[in-house]
């Protein structure tokens, strides 16, 4: 079920121009190193992409 939903939401975000900010990975509790690798890689990726553009839009709106 999760993989179905994530595959769909990834498509939707791509259409909205927000691709790359959602990732799914199966990691067992015995795979500590894999967990570290995936999280590090994803954090790095998001940092390079910069802050969420939606935050700026919603804050601008609040400020009027």
């Amino acid at each position: 079920m999760t993989v179905k939903r994530i595959a769909f939401v990834q498509e939707l975000l791509k259409f909205m121009g927000l691709e790359g900010r959602l990732h799914l990975e199966w990691i067992s509790s015995a795979e500590a190193q894999k967990y570290v690798d995936v999280v590090t890689k994803f954090t790095e990726k998001i940092r390079n992409m910069g802050p969420n553009p939606l935050r700026a839009i919603n804050e601008m709106k609040k400020a009027g």
């Binding site: 079920m1 993989v3 179905k4 939903r5 994530i6 595959a7 769909f8 939401v9 990834q10 498509e11 939707l12 791509k14 259409f15 909205m16 121009g17 927000l18 691709e19 790359g20 990732h23 799914l24 990975e25 199966w26 995936v38 890689k41 994803f42 790095e44 990726k45 390079n48 553009p53 939606l54 839009i57 919603n58 709106k61």
Partner: protein, 270 residues
């Protein structure tokens, strides 16, 4: 008029208890339930471009009395909506009779009875900053890069006045509890709606459900190209799962636990 005769027959032969169609009231065409007791009212049955979600009225009636037999004036989109409502057990196919009206133009009939067949006009400003009504999702993806796509959708969504018209008119929105009214997701009383979460919640719920009738777009006072958005949503569903809502009576992949197709999580591209 044949349709009037057919509808009268349905009522007089007790095939249906109520027939849902349209009649004119004070110059407006509005949905009306015709009954056997007032069968002559059917002479005022109106068939025109105007449409309302009659299937939604049928759902409300069925909720009050599940045994009620209902006749419906139906177009192609109504047939799809009915299939979907049968799938989700909102209506019982045994209790529904349809009379089909001419919908899209064909070689047999040159005119169609649907408000959606009137070509939509997109203004120059909307074309430059927002989204053309008549654009296709594939074309939109090809022509605009991701930043452009985001700013165009934000332009459209920010116009939302949170009237809930898209949900209220939708023939396949039948949930008792709506996520759009959940205070943790959509803050009540706050205008404008938080973008894009409000619209993306609805878009997500339309996945595997939207039957592409276009009533939401007709109803939207802010001219948000909702039909295009839900079309893309369901293009994704049909691309990934091979499922087309309303085509026939079949559950959506999101409501079946387990695999309908083999999927693996997409790799992270850095």
């Amino acid at each position: 008029m044949d349709m009037v005769k057919a509808a009268k027959e349905l009522l007089l032969q007790d095939k249906v208890d109520i027939f849902l169609g349209y009649r004119k009231l004070d110059g407006h065409q509005i949905p009306h339930g015709f009954t056997k007791a007032h069968v002559d009212d059917l002479d005022q049955l109106e068939i025109s471009l105007n449409r309302y979600p009659l299937e939604k009225i049928a759902c409300d009636l069925t909720r009050k009395d599940p045994t009620l037999k209902i006749g419906i004036l139906a177009r192609d989109c109504s047939q799809r909506a009915l299939n979907l409502l049968y799938t989700w057990d909102q209506l019982n196919p045994e209790n529904i009779e349809t009379l089909t009206v001419n919908c899209c133009p064909s070689s047999l009939s040159t005119h169609g009875d649907c408000s959606y067949l009137k070509p939509k006009i997109t203004g120059a400003y909307k074309k430059a900053h927002g989204i053309d009504y008549n654009d296709s999702p594939k074309n939109f993806m090809a022509e605009h890069d991701s930043q452009d796509r985001l700013s165009r959708w934000m332009y459209e969504f920010q116009k939302c006045i949170k009237c809930y018209g898209c949900r209220n008119v939708c023939p396949v929105c039948f949930c008792k509890e709506c996520s759009l009214e959940h205070p943790n997701l959509v803050e009540p009383g706050v205008l404008p709606a938080e973008v894009p979460i409000f619209h993306l919640i609805r878009a997500t719920h339309m996945a595997g459900r939207c039957i592409d009738c276009g009533l939401c777009e007709d109803a939207c006072p802010a001219h948000i190209p909702l039909r295009m958005l839900y079309r893309e949503v369901n293009d994704a569903v049909s691309d990934i799962f091979g499922y087309v809502p309303g085509d026939h009576i079949e559950k959506s992949p999101f409501s079946i636990i387990g695999k309908t197709v083999e999927l693996t999580p997409a790799p992270m591209d850095v």
